[in-house]
Symmetry: C2
Subunit: 360 residues, 2 copies
């Protein structure tokens, strides 16, 4: 199927001249290695304050971006590269991008949860402000003071839930920040940076790589993606309000949610496929963007984020000695994020369907 | 628009001979009055035990069914009927069907909530059994005993939430049962039954009713329905996962949810429209069933049920001194039912769209 591509946006059909070989891969890897080194220099120049400035956060993102691309290419095109070098390099790159990702993940998870609480509170005021006396008697206009108090408790619950999540996720983020700083200063990281510096000028290709076509390897990556997608419950995901994502929402094994794993796996395979396309399209690889792949990938990112946010809300609800109103708000929040998971699966199914129709 | 009907399933186009007039209305009312009296006799024969037998519940449903139809016809075709008689009769019929509806409503609300808890617990065992020691250590196989205990708390929460809802709604149902029994034995009810007995033989039509066409009155009922539907946010409802129903899910004013009111109103108008069609199609009115109207009506019933179940879960969460795990489970349950509300709106939008396309 993948070999029958007639899609005009396919990078291979657009590629001028002969089919891309190991030389194109070497060019792509050199470009990404250079990006990595540039981002690293930027990160050192912007400093690393307690909470990380905007510029240093951007530099960390750029570091992860190139680390992911190098790592993915080592995986997809491994037969064209020195085996020992690949096997030594990939776990180190995964460690770099994984370690650097944590701080950003906690930051955006907290943002996602607080904005959801905000939306669920249905107030223009931020939920954390609802504990202030001025916000309390809002309900009093429609009902007696007792009812207002009763109802107000739920708003207080949302505010307390927000404060609890803020405490827990800010602590986790601060720890992740320290861990990332330590990692960037470690000899282990310096060894990775040295290897990437070598890669920027000299790619360890095998002797036959220059004559080897990249396309079959990229096609294999695409095939792995298609197989994994075919195993997803897409018929269910495509019927709105299937309520599948919240099944087991109160089961003892909510963290992590086992039904999410195949979707997380597809997210990784989609990324490998996308990076393989980039490598095939030559040194300007980054310029080739397939909007449909992007939207499918965005749906899966949203799926991952909502899944982890739901788990964080469930985890916070297990904090000892919280008030019932706080626990109630966390329950609503958990279910809301699980529905985001369901919505993201629907969005993926819709993008993928378009994808499948237009490439066949 | 309503006057331009070309729909072959429309009862008016199917009606043999001249357009239906007050005579057809009288026939319809006599039929419904006879049904009412038959159901009342059945209800008395089947007795009225503490929890109501299946047969007496069925008799109560039949009583409500005919009371609703008589009341609706009095509303839609009021100009053809004696004004004083109509004005005296309608509130009494509303009281009868309203009073008889409560017991059934509490029963089905409890069923809906317990089955949702069951689904959310993701266990084959009923949630109430999870408190038993045998069910507790299920999670222990995958993780340490502490984690199992932590996770188990949520399952215990679902079980406790179920027990709390069971207590509260069973109490409400028992009270509703007593109220209904008292009502059926009251002189107020006997007066209604006497009036219905008269109606079964003699309908108080106005002098001009026999020559008055029913169609314009039925069309006006349809127009009121279409106007109310046009005011609904159907574009939002038609885009899946709009997350509109859970907005304000944690706001102080959750019971009743103000955004649900227009949908409840459409539910009542749809019923009036359906009964008007029945009256127009002559004494065999009950036989004419429009599947599209039925499915739209079922979606709105589901909307109402989920809305009230969500409110019951939120209300239960305000019970003083409940455990945080119970409150968490009730929060998840509330959000789940609000998503059912959203799903029901989507289902209504889908049925209505079909309806609108095929009748124009």
């Amino acid at each position: 199927m993948a070999q029958q591509h007639l899609d005009p946006t396919d990078p291979r059909s657009r590629h001028a001249g002969p089919a891309p070989t190991g030389d194109a891969l070497a060019g792509y890897l050199r470009t990404q290695a250079t990006e990595f080194l540039r981002a690293l220099r930027l990160h050192r120049e912007t400093g690393s304050g307690a909470n990380g400035s905007e510029a240093s956060a951007e530099a960390a993102r750029a570091l992860r971006r190139s680390a992911r691309r190098i790592s993915a290419s080592l995986h997809t095109f491994q037969p064209l590269l020195d085996t020992d070098w690949c096997e030594g390099m990939r776990p180190e790159l995964a460690w770099v991008s994984g370690t650097l990702a944590m701080e950003h993940a906690y930051t955006s998870r907290l943002e996602r949860l607080l904005s959801a609480l905000h939306r669920l509170s249905g107030s223009t005021a931020f939920p954390a402000q609802a504990t202030e006396p001025a916000a309390g008697p809002r309900a009093g206009a429609q009902s007696g003071p007792t009812a207002a108090q009763e109802r107000g408790n739920l708003t207080v619950g949302a505010a307390k839930a927000g404060a609890l999540l803020d405490r827990q996720l800010t602590l986790a983020r601060t720890r992740a920040h320290s861990t990332a700083l330590q990692a960037l200063g470690s000899s282990r990281f310096h060894a990775v940076a040295d290897k990437v510096a070598v890669l920027a000028s000299e790619v360890p290709l095998t002797t036959t790589a220059a004559a080897t076509d990249l396309a079959p390897h990229a096609a294999a990556a695409e095939e792995r993606l298609r197989d994994a997608v075919a195993a997803l419950p897409l018929v269910t995901a495509g019927s709105p309000y299937n309520a599948a994502a919240l099944t087991h929402g109160l089961s003892p094994d909510t963290v992590p949610h086992p039904q999410d794993a195949p979707w997380h796996q597809v997210r990784l395979l989609l990324r490998l496929h996308r990076y393989a396309r980039e490598a095939l399209s030559g040194p300007q690889g980054n310029a080739v963007v397939d909007l449909r792949l992007l939207s499918a990938g965005q749906a899966l990112n949203r799926h991952r984020d909502a899944s982890e946010a739901a788990a964080a809300a469930a985890q916070a609800a297990r904090t000892p000695r919280i008030a019932p109103a706080t626990a109630y708000a966390l329950g609503v929040l958990h279910a809301d994020q699980r529905h985001e998971v369901e919505a993201a699966r629907f969005a993926f199914q819709q993008s993928w369907q378009k994808e499948a129709v237009s490439t066949r």
